[in-house]
Symmetry: C2
Subunit: 344 residues, 2 copies
């Protein structure tokens, strides 16, 4: 069984009608009714030593904050505000107290920065390495929640920030090249200590401009495929519109990687991916400026299904390649990336 089959199996076993549940397995968060006006958003993410982080180069304080950020990112991706968190912390019996204290400080700082309160959890002795699970509960105005399922043909596809930075930063760290270039700081920081786009997510929720939204955790190719599948649409992305930074190109040159591949396949950027009608273009650019983030239209939502990447040939014509999930050879070289969420 692959991961998709695991999740489908669990989702099928769990399917029940329940009036209190607005959205179950299949989006960034589960959504349940709180009162007439507000909903609660619930999400849960686990990070495991050796799978999601390498203690050789991941400072514990940054790891603690990252655990908060990756969870809070799911709340932001539906337009919500994080409110509460629960932590399950598994540590080897031989853990060092300075390590734990730095981790706990990062976690507490992260909670404070995003405005959520750690209210409980569990602590266990883990025979092999660290593993931590965080559950975050967020709040949103019911009518402002943005689901993955609302994309419509003709929408423009947008992303916040710059793509592929986390994948590049991780590669630089692995090769001990993180100090080899003057501009690699943001790449490395993106892997070690990403920032969840909660403010932007809320602004988009309040604006009513976005039809569908999710965060970029498993890479554009995979995440856009999820969004399209949930919406019953396809998408066509223009490679030349992808926000690729000069530092990413420099890092790719240094490591022999392909910057486009990082931008399309690289996971853990925790930027927002959303769709909006074409007429919202100007207001979205302005909204991005207000939030201090660059928003970039990178393609369009299409009828049908599948996610296609368009590239310009030297002769001015275009070639197209399907990039849904891991559908073609080029991207089969993609790192397997972090294990995904419960999303069909």
């Amino acid at each position: 069984m692959n991961e998709r089959q695991i999740i489908d199996h669990i989702a099928a076993l769990s399917a029940q009608g329940d009036g209190r549940l607005i959205k179950g397995i299949g989006d960034d968060c589960a959504v349940v009714a709180k009162d007439g006006r507000l909903v609660w958003l619930l999400t849960m993410d686990t990070i495991i030593e050796g799978v999601h982080f390498d203690l050789a180069f991941h400072p514990p304080e940054k790891l603690g904050r990252k655990l908060v950020s990756v969870n809070v990112s799911d709340i932001g991706a539906m337009g919500g505000q994080p409110v509460f968190a629960l932590l399950s912390l598994g540590m080897p019996k031989t853990f060092e107290s300075f390590w734990f204290k730095a981790f706990a400080k990062g976690l507490a700082d992260g909670c404070r920065e995003y405005g959520c309160l750690l209210i409980g959890g569990d602590t266990v002795a883990s025979p092999q390495g660290f593993n931590c699970t965080l559950t975050v509960i967020g709040e949103a105005v019911a009518e402002q929640v943005i689901f993955r399922s609302g994309a419509r043909p003709g929408d423009m596809v947008w992303v916040s920030g710059s793509l592929g930075l986390a994948a590049a930063g991780l590669e630089l760290l692995k090769r001990k090249l993180d100090r080899a270039g003057g501009d690699f700081g943001p790449l490395v920081a993106k892997h070690l200590d990403p920032i969840a786009r909660v403010g932007l997510g809320r602004c988009l929720g309040e604006s009513g401009l976005a039809h569908a939204m999710m965060d970029l955790s498993d890479g554009l190719a995979t995440d856009l495929s999820h969004l399209c599948k949930q919406s019953g649409v396809g998408a066509r992305i223009a490679a030349w519109e992808l926000p690729i930074s000069p530092a990413l190109i420099e890092a790719a040159r240094l490591t022999g990687a392909d910057p486009e591949q990082w931008a399309v396949c690289g996971g853990e950027d925790y930027e927002l991916l959303f769709t909006a009608p074409a007429e919202a273009h100007g207001r979205l650019l302005e909204l991005g400026r207000q939030c201090g983030l660059t928003l970039t239209p990178i393609g369009t939502v299409t009828e049908g299904e599948g996610v296609v990447l368009r590239r310009r040939r030297a002769d001015g014509t275009c070639e197209e390649q399907g990039i849904a999930y891991q559908g073609y050879d080029h991207f089969r070289r993609c790192p397997a990336g972090k294990p995904g969420r419960m999303q069909p």
Copy 2:
């Protein structure tokens, strides 16, 4: 640092005033306001292969249901009703699909039996063994929630069911003696597939009779110490009142164990421990009958602090021993038990 210090450290870093939070770290669940009348109860528990369960004798279907039961038990221990659950499932890449399907069936059955809905989570590849975290959200009428902190001197201390069964069952399983006696079924079942006392917890909440309550997950000695510390009181337990079943005595005889030690120190019984004023005695016995469970008064709440076990000597006099946490030699032989919750 020991577990208590870990939790205290996290709790101190997380302490903030927040009007929406009714109770944070330090009880069976966190309690937050839902609307004017209802509160939400939130709890989270992790089980790790080799720490909490042994795949050599733990059937996956029972393990899935146990994961639900141990979480739901915390909801019941505050008088609530489980509503939603989120699962984080870590499995080795080499997992067998029949194993996973049986585990998922047990989990889904458990959710259905307790009336809660699995609404999301996370699935990850775990390099070493299985580990699963469940977050359960419950609901309760605000004024019916029973905290650990309400015990008063003069209260009687009560437990539901029979004590020490899970510890005995685990020992029998480890020694392959689980089929050696005709009455060992309930002992073994208590370890493999315990039943959370949700119905009893709700009845106690509705009755208004109990002053303080929690579930027995780490054993009577430790759990009663937590309850007393939270309430600022002490307790005196009568060894001769402990509900010890004939099967427990038989299992102890067979394995060379001490049935009293199992009853006092054995973890994972998931029975309810509560205190109530002496005048509620008759109504509590009746309430237990209505719920199909034996409720037993085993001691009294005292001024001061400390948890004391009284034993009768052959000459009719009594001896007393402090059993708070792991405070004396006899109980230092107690199995370290399952790692505890976030409770001071």
